[in-house]
């Protein structure tokens, strides 16, 4: 009986601390654990007793990589509870801010975190020696995303300008127009990125996933829409907890989200793309067609191409919003606290992020629930690893280990986010 283990104690190029463990016995995978060992930070607990106005600033600190996602899901949930709707130019500005985060986060992942795997480098800095132009363009692209966040949010990490009801201050049209040339360059650079990453070597690997994402009647989804899947889910956001739940799986140290009826599901760029291809702007659709990216695409390694296509979308959407912008008269709508429950979902760069809050008549939070994308993808990540190792048993340990890491990075997992909700399982006799 020959047994092999693949162990990565500290997974690199992901946000936060995680490891993975695969056990093989007699050429069969017998165990896979994708481990989270981030210390818990108890956000849902200390949100209790805070004011509803504080949720966007506090929940942003769950994740430094996608703070806008937390701010967007939280303000939408609060506005639902308070019975107000932010519309018109304020809504457009929120999308614009989110586009900035998408550009920044996708480019970070594509070039700095994921491309080095495909090209065989330990990191982007070592990669930059052989691909100086690609890395320089990537840094410029990333900066263009960050600059949108700085203008609209005050800073790129934990923006200070988002509030329930709108913003503290809105920009003049001229300030936004200053970004147009950069954004047009960024759109073209994103199209080139689609071409570049589509030339990578992709492992031949597909799974029959259930993809879940928001779907909006006429937009590529960011903050609004219904939750849909390719296997029959089609629900309004407030029904989320009726259909999805977090379960503790024995062999694992964490909570796994599942669809009650069927089990594991997949959120993120691949899911959005497969469910919303028809909502992408022409240029993004064309970029995907030009590189023969299938719809649906069931190869998670190709998520890097989809991220590039979504970056084309984010630039295009930003340009559209700026062109149509008229400075609103008030930066926010007035809000009176009242008791209620609110639900919000938005599409973080790495997938759907769900928030629910209960507030009392003074506006104090009495209960909070947050389900981040990485805890929803965790079960899928493990099942990918299981299948992938089984198929590629013949590879050396070293090769297989790197490919497994790469397979985890397909999901751009944000472990800092998920850990507050994932279980740290320490067995004691």
């Amino acid at each position: 009986m020959k047994s092999r283990t693949i162990k990565v104690d500290y997974l690199a190029r992901v946000e936060g601390e995680g490891g993975l463990f695969v056990k093989i016995k007699n050429r069969t995978v017998v165990d896979v654990i994708f481990n989270i060992f981030e210390p818990p930070r108890f956000f849902e607990a200390f949100l209790r007793g805070r004011n509803f106005t504080e949720a966007p600033d506090i929940t942003a600190r769950i994740c430094g990589i996608c703070p806008v996602a937390y701010q967007m899901s939280s303000v939408h949930a609060m506005e639902y509870a308070l019975g107000v709707k932010v519309d018109g130019q304020l809504r457009a500005l929120r999308r614009l801010l989110y586009c900035g985060e998408w550009i920044e986060s996708h480019i970070l992942h594509i070039y700095l975190l994921h491309a080095p795997d495909f090209l065989g480098y330990e990191d982007a800095i070592r990669m930059a020696k052989d691909y100086p132009d690609a890395v320089k363009n990537a840094l410029r692209l990333k900066k263009i995303g960050n600059e949108l966040m700085i203008l609209l949010g005050g800073r790129e990490i934990h923006p200070i300008n988002v509030k329930v009801g709108g913003f503290y201050k809105v920009p003049a049209k001229k300030e936004l127009e200053n970004h147009l040339d950069d954004l047009k360059w960024a759109r073209d650079a994103a199209i080139d990125t689609v071409k570049l990453v589509s030339t990578f070597n992709f492992p031949d690997f597909e799974q029959d996933y259930e993809f879940v994402a928001l779907r909006h009647p006429d937009e590529y989804p960011l903050c609004e829409g219904r939750l849909v899947s390719n296997k029959g889910v089609d629900i309004p956001i407030p029904d989320y907890e009726k259909h999805f739940e977090e379960r503790h799986v024995e062999h694992s140290t964490s909570l796994h989200s599942v669809i009650r009826a069927r089990g594991a599901y997949h959120v993120g760029p691949l899911a959005r793309y497969n469910l919303n291809f028809d909502r992408l702007p022409q240029s993004a659709q064309q970029a995907a067609r030009d590189v023969k990216l299938a719809t649906p695409c069931n190869n998670p390694f190709k998520s890097i191409i989809v991220r590039a296509v979504e970056t084309v979308f984010a630039c295009e959407e930003a340009i559209r919003i700026i062109n149509e912008y008229e400075m609103p008269e008030h930066p926010a709508i007035e809000i009176q606290p009242r008791a209620g429950v609110g639900y919000g979902c938005s599409e973080a760069p790495r997938g759907t992020l769900y928030h629910r809050y209960r507030i009392d008549d003074k506006g104090k939070i009495t209960d909070a629930k947050i389900v981040p994308p990485t805890s929803q993808n965790q079960k899928i990540i493990e099942s990918d690893l299981w299948e992938f190792v089984q198929k590629n048993m013949a590879l050396s340990n070293e090769k297989l280990t790197w490919l497994c890491e790469q397979a985890v990075r397909n999901y751009d997992p944000c472990i800092s986010c998920s850990c507050h909700f994932l279980k740290l399982h320490i067995e004691r006799e």
Binding site: A12, P39, F42, K142, K169
Partner: protein
Amino acid sequence: MGNRRKPRLAVWKFASCDGCQLSLLDCEDELLAVAGEVEIANFPEASRAIIGRSYDISLVEGSITTPHDAERIHKVRRASGILITIGACATSGGIQALRNFKDVKEFTSIVYASPQYIETLNKSTPITDHISVDFQLNGCPINKYQLVEVLSAYLNGRKPNIPSYSTCIECKLKGNVCVMVAHGTPCLGPVTHAGCGSICPAYNRGCYGCFGPKETPNTAALSWQWKKLGINDENLVRAFRGFNANADAFRKESEAHEK
């Protein structure tokens, strides 16, 4: 100097959101230059490579919240030459230090269905409660230009130029209209450490103290002014109990309004 090896840089993470270390990758204009000056020897967020076991400069993000981390930080200290803490989590305990004011068992059972599996300390504590550190950079998140300044200061053997006055002074230097005087908006600027460049007041918002207390802040005087603006004790407690709730001056001020 030519054939001396480049100083080795390591980045360590404890309980945090990763935002402060992301600041380094957000230095789009400086990243390749920084990478040319140092050898990035241990920075898991950015690289698979781990080079050597000791590091000339260590950046530490995050607070200590588990027994395991309370041990690990000593190993990091032993492996490091210069050790710099980055951000509110590392310098004061961060937002997760809100547990310090509550019963952590209750917290655990709110978030986790099987709290017996969670190993965590009662308090979230800053790095300085455990080891000696060479420099502390404030902010939630830190200012990336300050990070570059601190790194280049240590690489060149000089003292970092990081002012310790208040956010309020930064406003004056920037020519911001005072939100407290002009709009009656409560602002923590007078007691908050400089560094952000007074972002919030420039966006018509009061400072919420994410850079932590400045040196010798007069928090009591500020609370008195806030009260004149109609802010009650409960809201004063919340204001000082934010991203630097466990920083001495802010903790004491919040406790003073709890009685």
